[in-house]
């Protein structure tokens, strides 16, 4: 019985460490997707002038941030800004965004579609820059601590097993 408890505890510590590490990686991946999304939106507005719904439908696939699919599932009668913000809130845990990422993405949604093409391009550019800063910081942090979490998790699990058995 004691051995089983020790094993479960060790496994839990290990899973927690892996989860912290993988959330950080997932956040980086999603920030990269968002930066790409800004480029796609900008290009589409300039060259095809599709409306926002058509445009988001076009760019949302398995490689796009999860909140875009959430956005498309919400009723069209809801104002765009509310839909955008709600979809971000709903998928923030899945997409592993931090509050500073959400703030930038929500601010982007407020300006989305409400100005002429020049205004939209500037909106994309400004928010892309801000998100790129967050991405760079996340990459630096991941470089420093990403492997640390995994290694610490493994070591502490082994440590627990050794000490308690």
């Amino acid at each position: 019985m004691r051995r089983l408890l020790v094993l479960i505890l060790a496994q839990a510590v290990c899973i927690f460490s892996f989860s912290v590490s993988s959330r950080s990686k997932r956040r980086i991946k999603n920030l990269e997707k968002c930066v790409l999304m800004f480029d796609q939106i900008e290009t589409d507005i300039l060259f095809s002038a599709d409306n926002i719904y058509g445009l988001i439908m076009k760019i949302s696939d398995e490689n796009s941030p999860g909140f875009l699919n959430e956005f498309l599932q919400q009723p069209k009668s809801v104002p765009l800004e509310t839909r955008w913000s709600k979809s971000l809130e709903k998928s923030k845990h899945h997409d592993c965004f931090k509050s500073e990422d959400l703030r930038i993405l929500k601010s982007f949604g407020k300006q989305l579609g409400v100005t002429d093409a020049d205004g939209q391009v500037k909106n994309c550019f400004a928010h892309k820059k801000l998100l790129q800063n967050n991405l760079s910081a996340a990459l630096r942090e991941n470089e420093k601590r990403g492997n640390l979490y995994t290694t610490l998790g493994l070591l502490s699990s082994i440590g627990i097993i050794v000490l308690l058995i």
Partner: protein, 304 residues
Amino acid sequence: MKRIEEAISFLPARIYCILKNIKADVVENISEIRIRKDCPIVIKYDGKQFYLDGNSNLLFKSNDHLPVVSGAEVEQSFIRLCEYSVYSHADDIKNGFITLKGGHRVGFSATAVRDGEKILSVKKVSSLNIRIACEYIGCSKELFEIMLHNGFGNVLIAGEPSSGKTTFLRDLARNLSAQGLNVSVIDERQELFGDDTDFQKGHCLDLYSSYPKHLAVQCAIRTMNPDYVVTDEIGDERECKAIIDGINCGVDFAMSIHCKNIDELNSKEIFRRIDSAKKFDYIVFLKGKNDAGTISEIIKANER
């Protein structure tokens, strides 16, 4: 009912409900809906203006108890009218209107954002005028029968604003197409047939939607070999030149122009230029606002 629903779908819930609850027999004959900041909703029904109360009843006179539209509701309507994509309607916005699915035209007044003479965009939208596109099948029958008897030729439809010129042209285009003539319709503002409407077209109608008129006329003549080119509201020099070139190529035109009577028509430079050698075989005057799409007079070339 479907037409009205298409035309009001972008309005905020409160206004939408008031309009949707208007009696069915009235709804069918609404031609205009006016939404103004801090004012009651006004509709044009049977050629007359009415105010709407909170229970969707029609009133001749305004009073202090009528529901008024807030500035935020007008702004929200405008953004929804643009499908939250102002950038994709940039040209229409500069021209002061947006065409909805179904061919309904929504005009608006706002504050212009300018760069010298050039309008870049608009802000602070304060009023909207929704003009319901209607289909009076058969309104051009009288003219069409005369054409069948006397031969086809260039047609000019003249009438004051809201006299039903577009409706008349649409019906004429449909009749010509049903007769087996190849008709190219130049629908710059997507009002005649639009690109997503259920108006009957016949089987021989080619639609140039959203093209600038002068380019579409050249394009149609070069590539579609039309018997007729139908276009709405001729306006500027380039359009006039393209039409004269087209007529000189042997293609017949049906077009419309804003004017009440023959005196006003004769004073129009564009008309004088196109008609320099009695190019119009038929000039049709429409009755006016209260009798949309009804012929008042048909003048043949040999009667002028």
